[in-house]
């Protein structure tokens, strides 16, 4: 390889360890480009929305259709109760986290397929990770695409520090899509208004938290949180997606308002 073809950084990368922290500090480089700055990533909850069936899913899909042409939407799906069943069976049989990750992927794929058929008449495609190269085209043509929320780590899914449930599930997969594409917003559609001090389904004294930073969240050390902890761990390292919003998808109009940039749920930010 001709060394004069390389930038100074290129030469350093070729000759030094990629685990040298001084070298890594030089790889921030020029500002990262926003690949799809107009796109919004929307995560539709599995247990919270899709498992409720028609009563919750139809109004939400209607709202998505109303926003076609106004907002570009990359829609990821959660897994939900069937993943919990598969995880239970797998845990009992001693299956490793990587295999549980494969099982979770299958369930979020089922949910993506169902939404895909319900939105098919609008020409909205479902894409798998191998088809992400076509995502910008579909988004430009149809204004929305559907993908399964699980990151495609499968057998290579890292273990959690506690327990065996894959730690990077559909919240994380959707969040990372929003970060890598430099998307305009990351909206988590769940069945609660947002973050509470405890699970509001179990604790009636749980208090709603409209805005919070990652640092404040760490201090609170909540027993239960509304988004996967790995999203909260990734956010401080993010270049683009330094805030997310969790909204209640059971309330008509919430998604539209969130897409319009309004504060309707809990905004969690890294800064």
């Amino acid at each position: 390889m001709q060394n004069d073809l390389l930038t100074e950084l290129g030469r350093s990368l070729l000759t030094s360890s990629l685990d040298d922290e001084r070298l890594m500090a030089q790889t921030g480089g020029p500002p990262a480009v926003q690949i799809l700055p107009e796109a919004n990533v929307i995560k539709i909850g599995g247990q919270s929305i899709i498992d409720r069936g028609r009563a919750a899913v139809f109004p939400l899909l209607e709202e998505i259709v109303e926003n076609l042409g106004r907002h570009k939407m990359i829609i990821g799906t959660g897994a939900g109760t069937r993943a919990r069943h598969a995880y239970s069976v797998g845990l009992d049989l001693g299956l490793p986290t990587g295999v549980l990750s494969v099982l979770g992927t299958f369930v979020s794929m089922q949910n993506a397929r169902m939404l895909n058929y319900l939105l098919a008449k609008h020409g909205i495609p479902f894409i798998e990770p191998a088809q992400f190269a076509q995502l910008p085209h579909y988004l430009a043509e149809r204004g929305a695409v559907i993908f399964f929320g699980m990151p495609p780590y499968i057998y290579w899914h890292g273990n959690p520090d506690v327990g065996r449930i894959p730690p990077n599930r559909t919240d994380t997969g959707c969040y990372l899509v929003s970060e890598v594409f430099g998307a305009r917003s990351m909206i988590f559609v769940k069945d609660e208004k947002g973050l509470y001090t405890a699970d509001p389904k179990k604790d009636r004294n749980a208090k709603f938290i409209p805005t919070i930073t990652i640092a404040e969240l760490e201090q609170l050390d909540l027993h239960d949180v509304v988004v996967e902890r790995s999203v909260l761990e990734l956010m401080p390292n993010a270049t683009h997606q330094r805030s997310i919003q969790v909204i209640n998808g059971l309330g008509r109009g919430n998604l539209t308002r969130a897409l319009n940039g309004e504060h309707v749920g809990t905004i969690i930010s890294a800064d």
Partner: protein
């Protein structure tokens, strides 16, 4: 938990699916009966309850990662003896061989960073380089019945391949691609081929993980730059973190992965310039540096 609760697939169609139902019974969601039904998987107690012994899928197979820059890019003088050493091991052992991307990955990183591309894109681009090296090594090991397997089918068919052939080759990188985690410092993907090989060994419960590099193991400083660097024969992640070495001969994320491992409690780094050390490492001998998980990490 009784076995019955897992086998009873009882879909509960709740009659009254008002969205404001009480949290105790009818909560408007259609559940499948299971231990985790209705639970938040983010609840710390629920997470603890899921800690159970892990089944080993391929307990006899060894995972070996062959360095990209350290071995493959060094050319015939280094690669041929390594191939010979691997061929010798293949006579008695099942090998899952991962490869690094080497100089081409570093080059594409430098161009990509200059163009402002994010970490996930860099990770996606680098997959091609380690896959290229997998095919190069696969060509040289073809006489021994070992070839590179396309990544799309590798994981699912690995047990079949490893039973049918003495070994298989994959691109050591994990399939994180666009979903790679942004690193704390800079923009280089943190999960590269060392991490991919480790995660595979952990998931499949393999016998050992050996990283084949161009240094004898871990030193307190990069021995290629500092001639008086001190060799570290074995160390655990707690001490390694404490020493806060500036440069490591393996993906730094391995420290975290090792501490969270349930099966793979150590890995060994050996020097591919002394190919006999590869066989020694697979025999369970100490032939380079062994890195252990923090003994307290799983207590």
């Amino acid at each position: 938990m009784s076995a019955q609760s897992f086998l009873l697939i009882d879909v509960m169609y709740e009659e009254n699916t008002q969205l404001t139902d009480s949290p105790k019974t009818n909560d408007g969601r259609h559940h499948v009966q299971s231990m985790l039904m209705r639970e938040s998987l983010l609840d710390k107690d629920v997470q603890k309850s899921t800690e159970t012994p892990v089944f080993r899928m391929l307990p006899e197979a060894h995972v070996i990662k062959i360095g990209g820059r350290s071995v493959m890019d060094a050319g015939r003088a280094v690669v041929y003896p390594v191939v010979e050493a691997l061929a010798g091991c293949l006579k008695t052992k099942k090998l899952i061989i991962g490869t690094g991307g080497g100089a081409r990955s570093r080059h594409v990183f430098s161009i990509g960073i200059d163009l402002g591309l994010p970490t996930g894109v860099l990770a996606q681009l680098a997959l091609a380089d380690s896959l290229g090296n997998a095919h190069i090594l696969g060509t040289l090991l073809a006489p021994y019945g070992v070839v590179a397997i396309p990544p799309e089918i590798f994981g699912h068919l690995l047990p079949l391949f490893i039973t049918s052939a003495p070994g298989v080759i994959f691109n050591g990188d994990p399939p994180y691609s666009l979903w790679e985690h942004p690193p704390t410092i800079g923009r280089i993907p943190p999960h590269r081929s060392d991490a991919g090989s480790f995660l595979l060994a952990e998931c499949f419960g393999c016998k050992s993980l050996t990283l084949v590099k161009d240094v004898d193991g871990l030193y307190d400083r990069d021995p290629r730059i500092h001639t008086n660097a001190t060799f570290i024969r074995e160390i655990d992640t707690a001490e390694l973190r404490q020493r806060n070495l500036e440069s490591l001969p393996f993906d730094r994320v391995l420290l975290d992965l090792l501490d969270n491992a349930r099966l793979q409690q150590s890995f060994q780094i050996v020097n591919g310039r002394h190919p006999d050390r590869i066989a020694a490492a697979l025999e369970g001998k100490h032939a380079g540096t062994i890195i252990y998980a923090n003994p307290k990490s799983r207590l």
